[in-house]
Amino acid sequence: MGLLSDPNRRRALINLLTRLNAPICGMPVEWLVKTMQARGLEVYTQRFSRTLPFPDENKERYMVKGTNVYGILRAPRAPRTEALVLSAPCTPGDNNNQAVGLLLGLAQYFRNQIYWAKDIIFLVNDHDLIGMQAWLEGYHHTNTTGMDWSPLQGRGGSIQAALSLELSSDVVTSMDLVLEGLNGQLPNLDLANLFYAFCQKIGVLCTIQGKLQRNDWDSVSGYSHAVQTMMLMVMKQASGRPWGDHGLFLRYHIEAATIKGINSFRQYKTDATTIGRLLEGMYRKLNNLLERLHQSYFFYLMPSLSHFVSIGYYMPAFGLLAVILLLRALDLWVQLATPPPTTEDGIADIDPGVLSVLTPLVISHLTGAALYMLPIRFQEMAVEHFPVSETEAVVLTAIAVYTAGLALPHNTHRLLSGEGTEQGWRVLKLVALLYLAVLLGCTALINFSLGFILALTLVPGAAFVTPHVPKVLSAFVLVILSPACTLLFSVFFFQELQEMPVSFLDGWLLYLSVISQGILDHFLYGSLVYPLIALLVYPCWLLFWNILFWK
């Protein structure tokens, strides 16, 4: 591999990097176009604009307008059917300038090579994920989120794989691999293996979840380190959000990962040339692929970069949890099937009626629909009447609707004429148990981590709740195990895992921002976690809440 082995090229790259270090306001579109053209690429731009449903306070943006710049390196004698993508987000300020510089340096180097069999697209995307979403939607001519973008002029056929490059600081000591994508989708494991193999070959420190690999598996500390790494992956995957620009590629069946350069204040520093060699190696490997990556796993959890837990090992854990629900349901079924002991009052107990089951179902789902719709609809009204910003309005409305749902049993009973029967709650619980089992099963198939965490918290409550358990204690436990509290604990747990513990107040603020991010992820990128929780999981939990207060 001869990347930058000759001093002229290295000098050119260093010049480029130092020039890029000058602070830039916004993305220098014209400069990028000219630079890419000078490197012999076919350069195109794409404009896009998007108004967020409510302001994003983390990234301080509301009405987003931007331009993506991409250059296509046409492979000689290739019929434009396959392409690889190398992208680098370019944010205002000089956050990722190193990455853009390296991308241009690689473009220049790649252009002079003759071995390319697939077109290579060098993409500099504006406004990180929003730009990437616009570009991918433009490339595949779909519109899933209602964004405005100008159609793309140049294409390279079906994209086989993509890497996104983020170098957050000038000094890089280790490379971190980010795999978790939208809705917990993961790229093929071979991509991770490829990265690991090349890091080993070149001698770059490589991490996953920011954690180095340890070789002492047998010791307790080594084992807990691996468990921590894996738990971080579970938490990130469960969040369903793209943890890097690569996350949006996965929807289009494009294997993608983000490579982050991290400064962890170590002695050993990695220079741009080494990262360039790493990327060159990976791209040459991907270039040689005859088929899409498909041989290895798509479902896995990684306790370290060189080890993985396959679906065959982790799925039984979830299966055992789900079996509890089915067994409880079976138990109830048997109880319902045996004729009730004839009491002296007569046979009033026998027929609970469709209404007594259907009413709580409908009402809880209506509450869920309100939780999904109201926060966005009522933000303007809330801002007018209360001294809050739009973002706070959305989050607080969501919490308010959620809490209001707890008054559901009261409402249900008002609608139901007469008392709930013993048979009635049994039927309702049977329905709710099966509903939860199906729901969790489907969730775990799509996003294992999310399904598992939900199962862990919802199954105990679902299993034990009846109208005859102690009310106050049970209500407390049920609330603690409700989805919203699960999210709150997850926030603290995640911070703990990252070795960045927060105080309760900070944690609460973080919790609020996580809710707003979750809602934004849904509207901007089509993440399914928010609608899943609001429309399905929360109503299901409400059913159990309803059973507890059955009269």
Partner: protein, 558 residues
């Protein structure tokens, strides 16, 4: 004989003064520096032979015309045959129009004589024979990728029969072109690669390029303007684009030696004309040709008047390098295609056709041949230009039959001036039978290029006199009127992923079940069918004798 009379009349039109030639060979190389900095080299070799393959008497004496192709023409009653092998995609927006367009992969279209009764069988046999001649996978052409276009592919030679029952068109977008295709192609030349321009055709350089295309065209042409005599024309063309960026180290300087790693020393002795044209139209003052030539020629090609420096190899010339850098006019017609959508159930094919003419609209014929496993929803076909619905004035659609024939869609669309016309049609991805998947199913399945043919308005008056002597590269497509010229544009082929089962899983399952069957069932079967009996040790000799004696005495044995 009629032949002799025809020969006499044809005499004024015959180009070279060799005594009474019935056949004639010309070779030509055009070099065009492209504005992207690349160099486009186009070779054309033309063999004309005044003979009749269809007459009852067998043609047995071949001089310049390759015997293998001659026999193909007479055996399969071929009227016109066009075959091209291309590696790479012609980048119209960067390179302008090629002299002879061709789609990536292999393309074959043939007009048969109307005397052929079973066209499909003849076609099948012909593709197999050509597959052997050109060392290519043309034998993979079958009914699932053959279509009969009704309008897009008209005969290019003489003849009025336009019944498309006698036309067959097929492409193999996946065909890879390499040296094994070049060698048989070169063998068809009268001088082989021994002398003349073909000396330059060295595969190590030809396949070190951005684009490579070789083709063979056979058609009957007129010898004179009255068309009293006809002759067979065999045109072999080879187009190649060299990337100077890779090899030139930044300098825009080229020479034949740099491109082909060979130089020219002599013309092919059998050639009546052997010429090199250098396109110097764009910014001639920036060119510096060495050796200089005084011969300039103008030709109307692709709607543009171009100036060429001409080198006549029959006069012992060689030449060196020149340094061009210039702008080129934008191609008036340009098209691209892609698959939209995600997921493995449905998708949408988008074809974009650009008309860059500032004020003239012109009609184009679009031909799409889509394999059956993409089930086109033809009711979703939309054609829009400038945001408005653009109704095609002619649509010929032949639905596919599963595993038998592909979809054929031909449309005549009017492209408004300075506009983009978008044709979209949705499709569903079919689930194949497991034996129908290719060995590499996760690579995807190819859909051939769509073909866009058009008469594009010309900025200069085109030359309609078909018999006047013109450079070969400007005389392939017949020109009927002065105001327009014929252009054919191919879009890129598509690579579409179909729902693919995990083939390693059945393999594992087969291995596992075989083991289980072999070990478990085998031993169980063995146990069940074997009859057990207690075998006594064979008695000793004394005992046996004793038993015989006892048997004779009638006493039970021991």
């Amino acid at each position: 004989k009629g032949d002799a009379a025809a020969q006499k009349q044809a005499e004024p039109a015959v180009l070279q003064p060799t005594p009474q030639p019935k056949d004639d060979f010309q070779e030509e190389l055009v070099v065009r520096p492209l504005h992207s900095g690349d160099i486009y080299a186009s070779f054309q070799f033309r063999t004309l032979w005044e003979t009749d393959f269809m007459r009852g008497n067998k043609v047995s004496h071949y001089r310049l015309f390759p015997k293998s192709l001659g026999q193909v023409i007479s055996k399969f009653s071929v009227r016109e045959l066009h075959i091209s092998f291309t590696q790479g995609y012609w980048r119209t927006m960067q390179w302008g129009q090629p002299y002879l367009p061709s789609p990536p992969g292999a393309e074959l279209w043939v007009w048969f004589q109307d005397s052929v009764t079973d066209v499909d069988a003849t076609w099948k046999e012909l593709t197999n024979v050509l597959s052997g001649i050109f060392c290519a996978s043309l034998n993979f052409i079958d009914s699932t990728n053959t279509v009969q276009p009704s309008a897009s592919f008209k005969p290019l030679g003489i003849g009025n029969v336009t019944d498309h029952r006698f036309l067959r068109y097929a492409t193999l977008p996946r065909e890879i072109v390499c040296t094994e295709n070049l060698t048989p192609w070169k063998k068809l030349l009268p001088c082989g690669s021994k002398a003349g321009l073909a000396v330059l055709l060295k595969s190590e350089k030809l396949f070190h390029s951005s684009f490579h295309s070789q083709a063979v065209h056979i058609r009957p042409v007129c010898q004179d303007w009255q068309c009293k005599t006809t002759s067979w024309e065999l045109r072999q063309t080879l187009n190649v684009v060299f990337d100077l960026h890779n090899s030139g180290q930044g300098k825009r300087e080229w020479s034949l030696f740099k491109m082909f790693s060979r130089t020219l020393t002599e013309a092919c002795p059998l050639a009546s004309s052997s010429k090199i044209y250098i396109d110097i139209t764009d910014n001639p003052e920036q060119f510096e040709l060495s050796p200089a030539t005084s011969l300039l020629s103008q030709a109307m090609v692709l709607g543009d008047r171009r100036t060429f420096s001409v080198y006549d190899l029959t006069q012992q010339d060689t030449f060196g390098n020149c340094t061009p850098f210039c702008d080129m006019l934008r191609p008036l017609l340009h098209a691209e295609r892609y698959v939209a959508g995600y997921g493995l159930q449905t998708g949408e094919i988008h074809t974009l056709m650009y008309n860059h003419h500032p004020y003239r609209s012109f009609p184009v014929l679009q031909l799409d041949s889509v394999p059956w496993y993409l089930r086109l929803y033809i009711h979703t076909l939309t054609v829009t230009s400038k945001g408005k619905d653009n109704k095609p004035s002619y649509i010929h659609y032949q639905p596919s039959k599963d595993r038998v024939r592909p979809h054929l869609l031909e449309m005549l669309v009017q492209l408004p001036p300075n506009s983009v016309t978008e044709v979209t049609v949705q499709f569903e991805r079919a689930l194949l039978k497991w034996t129908e998947y290719t060995p590499d199913p996760n690579h995807g399945f190819y859909v051939g290029s769509s073909v866009i043919s058009s008469l594009v308005p010309s900025t200069v008056a085109m030359d309609t006199n078909s018999t006047r002597e013109r450079p070969l590269f400007s005389s392939f497509f017949p020109c009927k009127e002065e105001s327009s010229y014929f252009v054919r544009v191919y879009t890129e082929p598509l690579l579409v992923n179909l729902p693919t089962p995990d083939f390693s899983m059945p393999y594992n399952v087969i291995c596992l079940t075989c083991t289980v069957v072999a070990v478990g069932y085998g031993s169980l079967y063995n146990l069940l069918t074997r009859s057990f009996q207690i075998e006594e040790p064979s008695p000793g000799l004394a005992k046996r004798i004793a038993n015989v004696i006892r048997k004779m005495r009638g006493v039970p044995p021991l």
